[in-house]
């Protein structure tokens, strides 16, 4: 296990990626080793409201001299994420990371299919950039509600072309790329006979549910990064459980957040 740390971090940079999403760069003075699919629990201020930290997948970690830069891609959906969008640069926060288990990045006989829906992009982008650097081949499927919500297209494109793969864009409203859900785009290519070694995915639960069925239908191995409300992020509160195939409830923060669809109970999302 990579050593967890409760890092003192500073808000080093922030930039808007879409009307609802932004990139937050956090700087720490300690090293952080993390792999794609792992996440961190980030404090959202000093007071007791909000009380709990928020979970964010790591979108990238890099070392600049003595400073570690951690990148998060965040969608503003409520109290905590609104605060994060408005903290002054230089504000001090805490990030407990890396937590959980990431994607397995082994290459296989075929390419990998990386699938991201909306703000599910961060761990998938992290995976894409690591895979590209290792020259492991993949296609990247990126879906969003509309064109403006397709995030980090330049980086997605660069990583995918380095990996010699296809970048497939979809939007629900057809304003960019193929119209419809990202899972449908994947389904089309699968039924056209495209073969993948494995699917790595993150996105809203209905998308991951659809993907579970799709993977099952094609006998495909898929790894999903799940999202459950979390209090502790370290397996002690038992708030964030998912049901496994063997009937056990396990904390997604500790045993996941990435699970193979074969481990999960058939209707894990209900």
């Amino acid at each position: 296990m990579i050593a967890r740390r409760d890092l003192a971090v500073r808000v080093a940079a922030r930039s808007d990626l879409s009307p609802t999403c932004f990139r937050l760069t956090l700087a720490a003075q300690e090293p952080l080793d993390a792999s794609p699919g792992q996440f961190g629990m980030l404090s959202c201020g000093e007071g007791f409201d909000p009380l709990l930290r928020r979970a964010f997948s790591l979108a990238g970690v890099s070392r600049q001299g003595d400073t570690t830069e951690v990148e998060l891609l965040i969608k503003e959906v409520g109290k905590g994420t609104t605060l994060l969008r408005h903290f002054a640069l230089g504000s001090d926060l805490r990030l407990l990371a890396p937590l959980g288990n990431g994607f397995s990045l082994d290459a296989g006989p075929h390419r990998l299919a990386l699938v991201a829906g909306g703000i599910g992009l961060p761990p998938v982008l992290f995976a894409a950039e690591v895979l590209a650097a290792r020259s492991t081949g993949f296609d990247l499927y990126l879906g969003a509600t509309s064109a403006v919500e397709l995030l980090e297209l330049t980086r997605c494109g660069r990583a995918t072309s380095r990996a010699g793969g296809e970048l497939v864009l979809t939007t629900d409203d057809g304003s960019r790329g193929e119209r419809g859900f990202v899972t449908a785009a994947l389904a089309r290519r699968l039924s056209e006979g495209r073969a993948y070694s494995r699917v790595l995915a993150c996105g809203p639960t209905p998308m991951l549910a659809a993907l579970t069925l799709l993977a099952r239908g094609h006998g495909l191995d898929a790894e999903l990064s799940l999202e459950e409300p979390m209090a502790c992020g370290v397996g002690v509160c038992l708030g964030c459980v998912v049901k496994l195939a063997d009937g056990r409830y396990v904390p997604t923060c500790k045993e996941g957040p990435v699970f193979r669809t074969s481990e999960l109970a058939p209707g894990w999302w209900t």
Binding site: R53, E228, P229, M230, A231, V236, L238, V241, R248
Partner: protein, 306 residues
């Protein structure tokens, strides 16, 4: 100035008054790099039942203003797995272990204790009586003084170790239940457990949690917990109290000690900060040093009421 941090709870001597609370620290082995159990006065395990329990469906937790509601449903690995897998590792480290015990019937409490009696390395049992008593139509054990006294008596008969009863703040008469636990043989009382509460999802027109109700914890409840600790301490000044509810700082510990607690548990704060109990311990030490308090025990119950 060096501060004597040690305290006692009933017959149990503790190196310092801070414990990790049940349900917020696993079985003592999850946060070793942030808060090793042997540095604490004691820690309390997640509630253990005779057999493993799967717990409730999700959502199990929801945040509220300065608090959270949980309905974990007492998921646990069962006393057998605890004794087999966790306890040997704990014994190597040497913390003071309190086992939190619950059941759906009185004999299930006894069953957990009896299993634990076969093991070294357990200092105390803490009875979680905020569980529905299945044989009494689902009323919580902790709500009715007579069954509570009987339950405590049965557990008392099963062990010579320290026996704490963790009171429910939802009980109709807190002091009466406290008395019942004491006359049943409790060495100390832990209070408070969570307050029954609901969060509602206005969109879905449903409770947020899968089970509907849950238990409120965190800073929001601290003023209620302090009041209850003080009430019980005033009514039963000779009975040791372990205070709990919304503790986030060393100053909070001092407040609970003043109100009559001999030791204090830290729960929800651990979710915000995995090192919270140790941070709070050092804050307590600093507070005492700065305020000329040579021994933490001086503070217990010395609140001056007007």
């Amino acid at each position: 100035m060096s501060v004597r941090l040690n305290t006692t709870v009933g017959g149990l001597a503790l190196a310092n008054p801070i414990m990790a609370a049940s349900g917020t620290y696993g079985y003592g082995l999850d946060l070793l790099e942030f808060c090793p159990p042997e540095r604490l006065g004691a820690f309390v395990t997640k509630g253990l039942s005779p057999r493993p329990r799967a717990g409730n469906p999700v959502p199990r937790i929801v945040e509220t203003a300065a608090g959270m509601i949980n309905a974990i449903g007492l998921q646990n690995i069962g006393v057998e797995a605890f004794c087999r897998d966790a306890l040997p590792l704990l014994r190597q480290r040497g913390p003071v272990v309190a086992v939190n015990v619950f059941g759906e019937r009185m004999d299930e409490y006894v069953e957990v204790i009896e299993r634990c009696e076969r093991e070294d390395g357990i200092a105390a049992y803490e009875l979680n009586v905020s569980c529905p008593n299945v044989t009494a139509g689902g009323i919580e054990f902790g709500h009715d003084p007579r069954p509570l006294e009987r339950l405590t008596g049965m557990c008392r008969a099963a062990t010579r170790r320290q026996l704490w009863v963790k009171l429910s703040p939802n009980a109709p008469d807190l002091v009466e239940t406290a008395r019942a636990a004491v006359s049943g043989g409790a060495d100390a009382l832990t209070l408070i457990n969570t307050l029954r509460a609901i969060a509602i999802d206005a969109e879905r027109r449903r409770p947020v949690l899968a089970t509907g109700c849950g238990g409120l914890s965190g800073p929001a409840i601290k003023p209620i917990a302090l009041r209850m600790v003080w009430e019980v301490h005033k009514a039963l000044p000779a009975v040791p109290v372990v205070g709990i509810g919304g503790v986030e700082s060393g100053r909070d510990i001092v407040e609970f000690l003043l109100a009559g607690a001999s030791a204090v548990q830290v729960g929800t704060a651990i979710f915000r900060d995995p090192g919270a109990p140790l941070r709070i311990l050092s804050e307590l030490e600093r507070f005492c040093a700065e305020h000329g308090v040579a021994e933490v025990r001086e503070l217990v119950g010395v609140l001056e009421w007007h």
